[in-house]
Subunit: 337 residues, 2 copies
């Protein structure tokens, strides 16, 4: 398969991205090929700098760059030769089987949705992030692709994430929770209440009902459904809370003996490793007609390398066929919700 | 002043609540009085059990109890003699200057709003929770009183929380952040975008613009404005993340030498203490015509004792006068938003 990588996406682009691509090369299958998308000369120079000589890797020229903070729609319009726009076109024309970017999330979602289109039956794609937890991975969808969710969108996120959790994470029967502000049925806004009915009406889903913010860390479910605004806050808040807490612990340790801080370091490292989102490579944009992985803005080479294998797994596991099949059998259709 | 306490509210009621009231008594001012609201005989027996003999504390009979998970509206209708309903009536008739409950939040908000009414100019009250952070306390409003916020509500939460942070937390010029999914102006849903305009239009506010989930832990602002659904997720998620992380660290420590775990314990305790929400006693329901503090469901006696002093401080600092004054000078009125 051909996997296109946005060489200019993310806080550490292009160095870490190019390095990640080179790291991935040795572990590709025979027919695989990587396309590094970015300003030709710059990317070639980075490859030369890494001593890269030969392998199934081609640079695809994309002279423009979309910044992390640019308006998605405006930037795509004014920069048709940006790496994100070029990748989306490669996918559209069958020149790439998967796209990977750690760049501007909004621009990625807009470009991929516009060019690659959605799978049959899918109303809106959603970004599914996997939280690595002690009790097992938790898939949260959506975390920012869709900030004006309708009940049908949320219902489909539940279905698609379940397919993903089953095929990719190996969870036989994923338990689905609906993010709300209390576990009782009466809790939540109108969209949540209507979504609950849809989720409950589908016997194929192991729907456990409403969950609350704290439940994500309690191993009560494998899939969390929420609208993109809430999911994005959850994603960034969790990151901030973990960082903040480790910093607070470190501060306290520094006031103790330095020797104690040293002893504590490997323990923190082990906790970090067990909760390391980099392992999953990136978050799939579920519902898109193709394979698209959106990586964290602070992705390092390891994240990109893992994203390449995540893309391969999505492809070999035929995630999209399974999603299409699952949605075609859904009794709830757009007209109902 | 007379402070009514819901003796039956919270996971550890009535024992911890009654104990908290008794603890508070010795530190009251001369004219203060506590009203413990709950089933007369039960509460009296608990007081006897604590060896309580004499003091400015009266039991007000309220034979019904609203469970933590009951529907707010239904339970208030079917249980007019519940502690929450009775407290609201005491406040309405001037028999209580403040009300404190660790019980069903929805029922508290509904009862207090219905009986005590809002302050002049306030559209909807909001619950403001103080997050104790290393960089200083952060006040987040709303965390669950209003899950269908209009821009005018969010704008008023910004104003009211600023008044609160100034008067109670001693922050001279509170910096206000608006919770969104990216710092750029273009980010966020329609309500967020319109709210940003309102907040920006008020020169009395130190509005710093959009913030993201992670910023709460970075000391970038003193007040966070968000709608109740998002705020409630933030509140419970943070709690869950901190608990989950401490549990993960503990697990790792247990696999090391027990001696190391022992050495680490005081450090964790110090981190806990610095981030202990119990210190603030409870979350004020800002905008209500009276003083209402809503405490965490898992409140212990210390929380209740601190809530009594928080109520006194709100009262002596004339928070409500300041809010009314601030809103009367606001150029943005209901009709504009």
């Amino acid at each position: 398969m051909r996997i296109a990588i946005d060489a200019m996406g993310g806080d550490y682009a292009p160095d870490e991205i190019v390095a990640g691509a080179v790291e991935a090369i040795n572990q590709l299958d025979k027919d695989d090929e990587l396309l590094l998308v970015g300003p030709q000369e710059l990317i070639q120079a980075k490859l030369d700098g890494l001593g890269f000589k030969k392998g199934p890797l081609t640079v695809v020229d994309a002279p423009d760059v979309i910044g992390m903070d640019e308006s998605p729609v405006d930037s795509l319009r004014s920069k048709p030769k940006s790496s994100i726009a070029v990748m989306a076109k490669l996918a559209k024309h069958g020149q790439a089987d998967a796209v990977i970017s750690a760049g501007n999330t909004g621009a990625c979602v807009a470009a991929f949705q516009m060019r690659m289109r959605t799978l049959p039956g899918v109303n809106r794609p959603g970004i599914a992030v996997v939280f690595p937890m002690s009790a097992g991975p938790v898939t949260i969808c959506d975390v920012g692709a869709n900030i004006a969710c309708k009940p049908i969108n949320l219902y489909q996120y539940g279905l698609m994430s379940s397919v993903y959790a089953k095929a990719i994470l190996g969870i036989a029967r994923p338990r689905v929770g609906l993010m709300s502000i209390g576990q009782e049925d009466a809790k939540g806004n109108e969209v949540v209440k209507r979504t609950r009915e849809l989720l409950r009406s589908d016997p194929r889903m192991d729907f456990i009902g409403n969950i609350e913010g704290r439940d994500i860390f309690r191993g009560v479910c494998d899939v969390v459904v929420c609208e993109g605004f809430v999911g994005n806050v959850i994603l960034k808040l969790t990151e901030g809370a973990v960082d903040g807490l480790f910093r607070a612990i470190k501060q306290e340790l520094m006031q103790e003996k330095a020797r104690l801080a040293l002893k504590f370091k490997p323990i923190i490292m082990r906790v970090y490793q067990k909760h390391d989102y980099n392992e999953y490579g990136g978050a799939p944009l579920l519902g898109i007609n193709g394979t698209a992985l959106i990586c964290h803005g602070s992705s390092k080479s390891r994240t990109i390398r893992n994203a390449v294998f995540a893309a391969k797994k999505c492809h070999t596991q035929r995630i999209n066929d399974k999603i299409t099949e699952c949605l075609s059998e859904a009794r709830v259709r757009t007209s109902d919700a």
